[in-house]
C-alpha cells in the first residue's frame, strides 16, 4: 500500500496553476479511479480533479483558495495501484527535475520565435520583420525634406543640403535630377551629423522584440500572499479597464456632520463614520430605487436588494466585501458587522459569497488624510460613493457668520447611461438631509 500524490492537473493548453475551489472528498474517504475528488478553478473554467487511482484519500495539502502550480501535490491517496512514473523525476539521476521543466514549458513559444527570426534574416527573402517604426519620426519638413531615396543618397555623398534643393517632383518631392542640378556645395556641415538623419533608419525588429524583459514572477510564485495580491491586481486591472469604457461623472457635496457628531458621542457607543455613512448611503438608495440599478443592453435594470461593497485595503490587495441591506440594520449591529467583514478581509478568510451581491460601492480614504476624491464605478454598479476626511473646517453659515463645523466631502460617481447630473444632486440632497436630521439613520 503506497501513498501516491494527487497533483494539480494541467487541464488546458494554457493552464499553469489552479485555484482550489472545493474538496468533494474528505480525508479517509475511499476514492475510485476516475472519480471526482476536488474542484479547481483554472484560467478557463472550473474543473473536477479526478482520482487517478483506486484508494483512500489520506491527506489534503491544498486548502480552499490556495493557488497551486500545475504538477504540485494537492493531496495524497493511499492505493494498491502502482505509481507508473513514481520516483522517475525526484532525484538528480532523472537528468532533469520537474521543477526545472515546468517553467521551461512556457518558454518554447518565445524562444522559438526568436530563433526563427534569426534564420530568416540570414537566408530567405521572405522574412517579415515587424514594426519598422523608424519612418514615423515626426520631424518637420525643414530638417527632413521629402526626397526619393536615391536623391537622398546622392545629396549625402556630395554634401548637398537637401533643404537648399528646389523640388520639382510630384507633391513637392525632391527628385534625383533636382539634386544633380543643385551641384556640389562645400561640405561645411560635418558629414556624420548630416548623414545620420538620412541613413535609412533600421530600428531592427529584433531590438523591439527583445526590448522590455518581463519582471520575474518569482515572488508571486513562492509567497502565497504575494501571489494572491498579484491575482487581485490583475482582477482590479480588468475591472477598471471595463469601467473606463463607461461614461461616468462625479458630483461632490460637503456634508455638515455636527449634529450627528453630537448624537454619535452620546447615544451610539462610537459607531464608526463608515457605518453611519454606509447606512445613509443605503437609505438614500432605497429612496432613489432607480439608482440601485445595473446597466444592461435593454437599459437600466433595478435591483431588489441593496448591497454596499466596502473597499478594503487588504494584504492581498483591494477587496470589496458586501454589506447586505444595511438600511435595515441597527447602527451598533451594522458597525459590528462591518468590523467583522473588514477583519475577514484583512486576514484573508473572506469567502466568494461575501464578495458578491453588491449594487454600489463605498470607499473611504478619509482616514488616510485624503480630503476628497472620485471613486470609479465598479461594473455593473450604477453608483459609487467616496468619502474624504471628517474634520473641523471653517464654514460660512446661512446667517452670514462663519465658524468651525465638522464636515466631510462626499463624491457620488454615477453611470451617465443610468441617470443624469440632477439625479445625482437629488441623491446627495437626500444624504445631506439624512445626516442633518439623523432620525432615520438612528432608527431600527
Amino acid at each position: 500500500m503506497a501513498e501516491l500524490s494527487l497533483t494539480m492537473p494541467k487541464m488546458s493548453m494554457t493552464m499553469e496553476e489552479g485555484t482550489m475551489v472545493a474538496w468533494l472528498k474528505s480525508v479517509g474517504d475511499p476514492v475510485k479511479s476516475g472519480e471526482p475528488v476536488a474542484e479547481v478553478a483554472t484560467d478557463k473554467v472550473d474543473m473536477e480533479v479526478e482520482s487517478p487511482y483506486d484508494g483512500v484519500l489520506s491527506r489534503i495539502v491544498a486548502d480552499i483558495d490556495d493557488v497551486i502550480k500545475v504538477g504540485e501535490p494537492i493531496g495524497y491517496i493511499t492505493s494498491d495501484s502502482d505509481d507508473l512514473l513514481g520516483g522517475l523525476f525526484d532525484g538528480a539521476d532523472s537528468g532533469q527535475t520537474p521543477g526545472g521543466q515546468a517553467p521551461a514549458a512556457a518558454g518554447p513559444g518565445a524562444a522559438g520565435g526568436g530563433a526563427v527570426g534569426d534564420g530568416g534574416a540570414a537566408s530567405t527573402p521572405g522574412q517579415d520583420p515587424v514594426g519598422g517604426d523608424g519612418s514615423t519620426a515626426s520631424s518637420t519638413a525643414s530638417d527632413w525634406p521629402a526626397a526619393v531615396p536615391l536623391a537622398r543618397s546622392i545629396a549625402s555623398d556630395r554634401g548637398v543640403e537637401l533643404s537648399s534643393v528646389a523640388p520639382t517632383g510630384p507633391g513637392g518631392i525632391i527628385r534625383v535630377q533636382d539634386v544633380e542640378s543643385a551641384g556640389a556645395v562645400p561640405s561645411r556641415a560635418e558629414p556624420a551629423a548630416s548623414a545620420q538623419p538620412s541613413a535609412p533608419s533600421q530600428p531592427s525588429a529584433r531590438s523591439q522584440q527583445s526590448a522590455p524583459s518581463r519582471a520575474p514572477k518569482a515572488a508571486g510564485a513562492t509567497d502565497p500572499v504575494a501571489a494572491r495580491r498579484a491575482r487581485t491586481r490583475l482582477l482590479v486591472a480588468r475591472t477598471m479597464t471595463v469601467s473606463a469604457s463607461i461614461p461616468q461623472f462625479t458630483a461632490y457635496r460637503q456634508f455638515d456632520l455636527s449634529v450627528l457628531a453630537g448624537v454619535r458621542k452620546s447615544g451610539l457607543g462610537g459607531a464608526s463614520w463608515t457605518a453611519i455613512l454606509v447606512k445613509a448611503q443605503a437609505i438614500a438608495l432605497s429612496r432613489h430605487p432607480e439608482l440601485n440599478a445595473v446597466w444592461t443592453e435593454d437599459g437600466p435594470e433595478r435591483m431588489e436588494e441593496i448591497g454596499i461593497a466596502l473597499a478594503v485595503d487588504s494584504p492581498s490587495g483591494l477587496l470589496a466585501p458586501v454589506i447586505r441591506n444595511p438600511q435595515s440594520e441597527t447602527l451598533p449591529n451594522l458597525s459590528a458587522g462591518i468590523a467583522q467583514l473588514v477583519d475577514s478581509a484583512l486576514s484573508g478568510s473572506i469567502t466568494a459569497g461575501q464578495l458578491s451581491g453588491g449594487t454600489s460601492v463605498f470607499s473611504n480614504l478619509g482616514g488616510m488624510g485624503v480630503d476628497h476624491f472620485n471613486a470609479l464605478l465598479t461594473p455593473p454598479h450604477a453608483t459609487a460613493l467616496s468619502a474624504g476626511s471628517v474634520a473641523q473646517r471653517v464654514v460660512a453659515t446661512a446667517d452670514g457668520a462663519f465658524g468651525p463645523r465638522l464636515t466631510c466631502t462626499v463624491g457620488l460617481t454615477m453611470d451617465h447611461r443610468v441617470a443624469d447630473g440632477a439625479d445625482a444632486a437629488r441623491y446627495l440632497q437626500t444624504i445631506s438631509d439624512l445626516v442633518a436630521s439623523p432620525d432615520s439613520i438612528l432608527a431600527v
Binding site: K44, E48, F89
Partner: protein, 323 residues
C-alpha cells in the same frame, strides 16, 4: 486461424501491445498533469483492442494512416516508444524532432504514414497509398484508422469513392468510440450501424465488437486478404468507447458518469486476460510478468526520453523543404 487466446506467443504479444498502449497513455496523462508536456493530447484508453487486433493482420510493410488519437496505432504497428515519448516531451530525439508532437507521429520504417490532426485527413491519403501500392505492384495493403466523427467529413466520402472506383487495396477501419468530441455518433448518423453506409459505396461493410481483440483481428484479416488478392476496399466499424475526455479540457458534459462506468466494465484488456487464463494458455504469473515487463520498459523509455536534449530551433527554416 488459431484463436489468439489459445496460442501462448500470440496471447503474450497481444497483451504486451494492449498493456503498452494503456500504460503509455497513462504515463502521458501523468506527465501532462505534472506540467511536463505542453499542447494537448487525445487519449484512446479503453480502445486498445482495435489497433492491436488490426495490426496483427498486417505485414510490417503494410501501410496505416492514423488520427489525432493515434498513440495506439503507432505502438501496435511497432513504433519505438522511447522516440514517441521523446516527441511528446518535445525532445530532439523524438520522431518529429519536436516539430509535430502527439498528433503527428509517423514511422515509415513500420509503414506508419502518420497521425493526422485533421479529422478524415488521412482517408484520401490512405487511398493514395493504396493506389501507389497497386501501381508499384507490391501487394501492400493500407489500413485507414479513423473515428466515427470522420464520417461527417467530405474527405471521407471522396477518399472512399476513389478507392471503390479503382478497387484499391485499402481497409477503412472506423473506431466508433461513440463520440465525435461531444457529438454522439448515434445522434449524428441516421444509421443503425455505420457499416450500413458501405453498401452505398459499393464495398463490403461489417460491424464488430471493437473491445474484442479477436473479433477485430478476424474482421481486419478477412478485409486485408480480400484487398491483397485484388478484391478492393472494405469498411469495418469497430465499436468501442473512449474512457477519457476528447482532450484535456473536456468536462464530459455530454455523457453521464454512469455511462462511462458501464463501459469501464468492458475493459478489453482484462477481458482478454480472462480468456487466456480460461483457455489455460498462460498462468496468472505469466500475466503478472507481462505487466511488469511493460511497466519497466515504459519507465525506462520515459526516463531516457526525458533525459534527452530538448528540440532545438537550429535549422528550423531549412526544415520546411526537403532538398
Amino acid at each position: 486461424m488459431n484463436p489468439l487466446a489459445q496460442d501462448a506467443e500470440a496471447a503474450k504479444s497481444v497483451l504486451k501491445t494492449m498493456w503498452m498502449i494503456r500504460r503509455f497513455e497513462e504515463a502521458v496523462e501523468d506527465l501532462y498533469g505534472r506540467g511536463m508536456m505542453h499542447g494537448t493530447m487525445h487519449l484512446s484508453i479503453g480502445q486498445e483492442a482495435v489497433p492491436t487486433g488490426a495490426c496483427l493482420a498486417l505485414n510490417k510493410d503494410d501501410y496505416i494512416t492514423s488520427t489525432h488519437r493515434g498513440h495506439g496505432h503507432c505502438i501496435a504497428k511497432g513504433a519505438d516508444i522511447e522516440r514517441m515519448m521523446a516527441e511528446l516531451l518535445a525532445k530532439e530525439s523524438g520522431y518529429c524532432r519536436g516539430r509535430g508532437g502527439s498528433m503527428h507521429i509517423a514511422d515509415t520504417t513500420t509503414g506508419n504514414l502518420g497521425a493526422n490532426g485533421i479529422v478524415a485527413g488521412g482517408v484520401p491519403i490512405a487511398t493514395g497509398a493504396a493506389l501507389s501500392a497497386h501501381m508499384r505492384g507490391t501487394k501492400q495493403v493500407a489500413v485507414c484508422f479513423h473515428g466515427d466523427g470522420a464520417m461527417g467529413e467530405g474527405a471521407w466520402h471522396e477518399g472512399v469513392v476513389l478507392a471503390a472506383m479503382w478497387q484499391l487495396p485499402v481497409v477503412f477501419l472506423c473506431e466508433n468510440n461513440h463520440y465525435g468530441m461531444s457529438m454522439a455518433s448515434e445522434k449524428a448518423f441516421n444509421l443503425e450501424k455505420l457499416s450500413d453506409r458501405a453498401k452505398g459505396y459499393g464495398i463490403p461493410g461489417v460491424t464488430v465488437d471493437g473491445n474484442d481483440v479477436q473479433a477485430v483481428r478476424d474482421a481486419v484479416q478477412e478485409a486485408v486478404d480480400r484487398a491483397r488478392s485484388g478484391g478492393g476496399p472494405t469498411f469495418i466499424e469497430a465499436l468501442t468507447y473512449r474512457w477519457r475526455g476528447h482532450s484535456k479540457s473536456d468536462k464530459n458534459l455530454y455523457r453521464t458518469r454512469e455511462e462511462i462506468e458501464e463501459w469501464r466494465t468492458h475493459d478489453p484488456i482484462p477481458a482478454f486476460e480472462a480468456r487466456v487464463l480460461q483457455a489455460g494458455t498462460l498462468t496468472e504469473t505469466d500475466l503478472e510478468e507481462i505487466r511488469n515487463q511493460v511497466r519497466d520498459e515504459l519507465r525506462s523509455a520515459v526516463q531516457r526520453a526525458n533525459a534527452a536534449p530538448d528540440a532545438t530551433a537550429d535549422g528550423l527554416l531549412e526544415a520546411v523543404y526537403a532538398s
